[in-house]
């Protein structure tokens, strides 16, 4: 079982980035987003609902995602989220800075030659 992740466990902005990335795969409702992250991370990342919905609201207010109401697989009313062009741009930004961060950390962690 993976660790249940609260927003504070992730580096700031990571949650948003995960959500945005998930939405590149298509339109999804809240449960679907959480499920997708869980599965893709192979159970490592499990988003706490307490963080998910506020995050989705925030992203909506920032204009990075948009939502519409539709019907789920078993004909229940559900709200579907999709990525907006602004969201896509933000995602690229976030991913590149995240990538730089990870690379930097990795460099620090590398045992360097010649130093014990």
């Amino acid at each position: 079982m993976g660790k249940k992740l609260a927003k504070s466990d992730l580096l700031p902005g990571t949650l948003d980035m995960l959500i945005l990335r998930t939405l590149t795969r298509g339109v999804m409702h809240g449960y679907g987003i959480a499920d997708h992250i869980r599965l893709r991370s192979e159970e490592v990342l499990r988003i706490e609902e307490g963080s998910l919905y506020p995050a989705l609201q925030r992203l909506q207010l920032q204009g990075l995602v948009a939502s519409d109401w539709g019907h789920s697989a078993n004909n229940r009313r559900a709200r579907y989220y999709r990525l907006t062009p602004a969201g896509r741009r933000k995602l690229d930004q976030a991913e590149s800075s995240f990538g730089r961060l990870i690379a930097a950390i990795a460099r620090v962690q590398q045992p360097s030659d010649g130093v014990v």
Partner: protein
């Protein structure tokens, strides 16, 4: 953009909330199904799903917080919070709101006067195209009037699309046998047309109606006159009214709120200039070039600038000089100049003391002063409040409130106070203005004091400024992030404390000084009002009825005025119930004065002296029971043809003739005649209550007739009965004579002293308010000082000081502040008192009784205000105080 979305979300929050609930439900449902698919029982799955989800309510709240951070939401919260706080401290809030209301209300009323008189544009079409034309007068001063012939030359100038002229006049309007003197204008026939006005009834003059002098006289009434005097009669057009004894046909009524093109010449009626001699026989104003009594207003053609008009007028002036070199020259020999000023600027011309502009400047100064005092009051209140809440604010800061948010909240509170104060103030202003318009004394034309945008703006601006200024300072100060120190009450920040204390103390001292001065003023005014009512004025007030006669509308040909007076006295004396009748030019304390200079032979060189006079008829002193000390009063024998005689009062007699003035002679310099004194009269206050009697000379009315006199009647008949009889009798002598409303001497007295009573009442009210404010300020400061010195006090008490000595210690500080304030206040009071001198009766400005009373009251109030926190201080538990560091 985000902020906008936030705002929208906030507005739709209820719906969004519902949607979120639905969304969460779905999420739970899907989770449940997944768990069931994994093999759980439905019940277990349900529970597990909920458990995994977390606290639904909390999550919903956190989500809602996203859109809850909008500005409007915060504003609404702040306002609600502010209202709650205001209600929790009703005393403080009431005081602050009251001060703002009074300050803003009073200054708004004053400002609306100024606005109406100075700034409001003429109620004419395109008033900015109007310019006023002046002709320089003989002495060379630029802004004089023009003659009618000049006006006709000006109108010919092509720079103007139309030029009008007017001249002031008065007439007696006889209505239902009640004659009244009214103000009016002689106007050029195009007067209303050039101004672009439409009649509210009937029509205005036609061009030809200005030409034929004297034939079938017509008149246009002002809207106000039509409403006030003719009851807004719908059939007024065509009605015939009587002006100065002549019939005039009313052809129309002017537009509402129009009283003439200039505030200096407000009018109830308008007559074509050609018909002026019907109203006011005498000089021919149209033909006589020396009569420069017309004021001229021109409307510029579109596209013409004032400078062009000026240039054109110079050409006209040069022409006039060539044409009429005698009349068109100034004393210096130069030709006269014609000046054109835009109408708005022209209002300010000729502004000396007593002129409208001067009065208004003083009024504006008063406005600023009032607002300043109100602001100081509000500032003290806000500061005290801020002090009292220091701890609360510190705790909130410590708990994580953002400083910005707190400042915003404090500002909102102040803003609420300002809005409340401003709204109340505007209401006060509105009712005061309405009251004034309703109570306006007869003869004074209506001023349109309705609140307009400018005034509203002024009021709102004033309150906002006050708030920003005085709410911001404490807000910033108390939210300084020195949270620790606040919570600990440490003496670390002693220096900062000192400064804070001094600021508050300074404000308190100012307030104490002001309230002391106000109290002294109020005491003076109250004593004055009392004296006014009870002091003996020196003449009889009971059973005397007076009526004013104005013969200025009757030409004085062949002694017509003297004949009128003789008839008047004869007829009225014959009325049943009338005991005595006498004429006088002036009524004591009436406010108007007449003077002359007389020359008295004293030893080698004659002495000239300038003094007050009155002109009275036979029997005057007996009627009013003013004692004749020596000699006699005037009799019927002192006629125009007899040698000139006079009476003097005791003061003058003592000054030059050792009291024995009968038989002495002086020269009246103005008339150049020798006058013999035949009697000495008791002194009385002639000018106003506040002044001591002055040397006076009385001349005989038969020998010095004037166009305006008052007829005094001594009668036991009730005034309500005798009044109309008097009016009818006098009106029958000559219908053109103006008569004022008959008044008993008592009524006259009350009328003359009424301003005093009003002033005393208002002064008392204002002083009381200010004293309350000062007391609260004092309380605040002492409380503040005590809170700072808790440790010291605790220490003292632990070391054995009694509670009494602690109280004494604290009160000493309070009394110190009061004393300093009182000393300052005495200075202010003396200065203010000197200004009030002329209206004070029976008391001087440095009246020790008033000063003493004021000081006593101040001491009492101040002592109480310091005692309360002092008492609290002494109740401090020493161990607590010492421990609470």
């Amino acid at each position: 953009m985000t902020a906008l979305r936030r705002l929208l979300a906030y507005l739709r929050r209820n719906r969004l909330d519902g949607e979120l609930a639905e969304e969460i439900q779905l999420h739970l449902e899907l989770r449940r199904q997944a768990l069931i698919a994994d093999g759980m029982t439905p019940a277990d799955a349900d529970r597990e799903a909920r458990r995994q989800f977390g606290n639904v309510t909390a999550i919903r709240e956190r989500t809602r917080d996203q859109w809850g951070g909008s500005t409007i939401d915060m504003l609404v919260q702040d306002v609600r919070h502010g209202i709650r706080l205001i209600r929790k401290a009703p005393g403080f809030s009431a005081v602050a709101i009251a001060s703002l209301a009074v300050g803003i209300g009073a200054s708004t009323v004053l400002f609306s006067f100024a606005n109406t008189l100075l700034f409001r544009p003429l109620p004419a079409a395109n008033p900015e195209r109007l310019v006023q034309l002046f002709t320089s007068d003989a002495s060379g001063s630029l802004y004089g009037g023009s003659s009618y012939a000049d006006y006709e030359r000006f109108s010919a100038a092509p720079v103007f699309s139309g030029v009008l002229a007017w001249s002031r006049t008065r007439a007696t309007l006889s209505q239902d046998e009640r004659p009244d003197v009214v103000a009016g204008l002689f106007v050029s026939a195009n007067y209303f047309d050039v101004l672009g006005l439409r009649p509210s009834r009937g029509r205005f003059f036609r061009a030809d109606e200005g030409r034929a002098p004297g034939r079938s006289p017509i008149v246009v009434l002002s809207h106000d006159a039509w409403q006030r005097r003719f009851g807004a009669d719908p059939d007024i057009a065509g009605r015939v009214i009587e002006l100065s004894g002549q019939p005039f046909t009313v052809i129309g009524v002017g537009p509402p709120r129009f009283m003439g093109a200039s505030i200096e010449d407000m009018a109830d009626f308008f007559v074509p200039a050609a018909m002026h001699q019907v109203v006011s026989p005498g000089a021919d104003l149209l033909q006589d070039r020396r009569q420069r009594v017309f004021r001229v207003l021109g409307r510029l053609q579109t596209g013409v600038a004032v400078s062009e008009a000026s240039a054109a007028l110079q050409v006209v002036a040069a022409d006039l000089l060539r044409q009429d070199p005698v009349a068109w020259r100034e004393q210096s020999g130069r030709g006269r100049t014609v000046t054109a000023l835009p109408e708005v600027t022209a209002r300010f011309v000729g502004a000396g003391p007593g002129s409208v502009l001067f009065i208004l400047s003083t009024v504006m100064a008063g406005v600023v002063g009032l607002l300043a005092i109100a602001c100081v009051n509000v500032a003290t209140v806000l500061l005290s409040r801020a002090t009292a809440r220091r701890k609360e604010i510190a705790v909130r800061l410590a708990l994580g409130a953002s400083r910005r948010r707190l400042v915003r909240q404090l500002l909102t509170e102040s803003a609420l106070l300002a809005v409340a104060g401003g709204a109340l103030g505007l209401m006060i202003a509105q009712s005061a203005a309405a009251l004034f318009v309703r109570l306006r004394p007869d003869g004074m034309p209506a001023l349109d004091l309705t609140l307009d945008d400018r005034i509203l703006l002024f009021g709102i601006g004033a309150s906002l400024l006050t708030v920003l200024f005085f709410g911001l300072a404490p807000a910033l100060q108390t939210t300084r992030p020195d949270v620790n120190a606040e919570l600990k009450d440490a003496a670390r920040t002693l220096k900062v404390r000192k400064w804070q204390f001094n600021l508050r103390a300074g404000l308190v001292v100012i307030q104490v000084a002001v309230s002391f001065a106000l109290m002294v003023g109020a005491a003076l005014m109250m004593r004055s009002a009392h004296a006014g009512r009870t002091e003996d004025p020196g003449f009889r007030r009971d059973e005397v009825v007076s009526i004013g006669l104005d013969l200025s509308t009757i030409p004085d040909r062949d002694g017509a005025h003297a004949r009128f007076y003789q008839e008047a006295v004869r007829l009225v004396s014959a009325l049943p119930g009338v005991e005595r009748v006498a004429l006088a030019a002036l009524v004591p304390m009436g406010g108007t004065n007449r003077h002359t200079t007389i020359q008295i032979a004293q030893g080698q060189a004659p002495v000239s002296t300038f003094l007050d006079i009155n002109v009275v008829g036979p029997g005057y002193f007996t009627l009013l029971e003013i004692p004749v000390r020596r000699g006699r009063e005037f009799t019927a024998a002192d006629r125009l043809s007899s040698p000139p005689v006079a009476l003097v009062n005791e003061l003058l007699a003592r000054q030059y003739w050792d009291g024995d003035a009968v038989g002495q002679v002086f020269v009246d310099e103005r008339a150049g005649v020798h006058v013999r004194i035949v009697g000495v009269i008791a002194d009385l206050r002639h000018r106003s209550f506040g002044e001591d009697p002055r040397p006076m000379v009385y001349f005989s009315a038969d020998q010095w007739p004037s166009s305006r006199m008052t007829l005094h009647v001594r009668t036991a008949v009730p005034p309500a009965v005798i009044g109309p009889v008097l009016q009818r009798t006098l009106h029958a002598i000559d219908r053109a004579a103006g008569l004022t409303r008959p008044e008993t001497m008592r009524e006259y007295f009350d009328r003359v002293t009424m301003p005093q009573q009003l002033a005393a009442g208002s002064a008392l009210a204002i002083a009381a308010i200010e004293l309350t404010l000062a007391a609260m300020a004092l309380y605040g400061v002492i409380a503040f000082a005590v809170s700072q010195r808790r440790r010291e006090i605790g220490l003292r008490m632990a070391l054995g000081a009694t509670s009494r000595s602690v109280i004494a210690l604290v009160m000493r500080e309070g009394l110190l502040l009061i004393s300093v304030g009182a000393v300052l206040g005495v200075g202010v009071a003396l200065v203010g008192g000197a200004a009030l001198q002329s209206v004070l009766i029976g008391v001087g400005p440095a009246d020790p009784a008033s000063l003493a009373v004021a000081a006593l009251v101040l001491l009492l109030v101040g002592a109480t205000a310091s005692y309360v926190p002092a008492r609290r201080a002494s109740g401090v538990d020493p161990s607590n105080a010492l421990r609470s560091n």
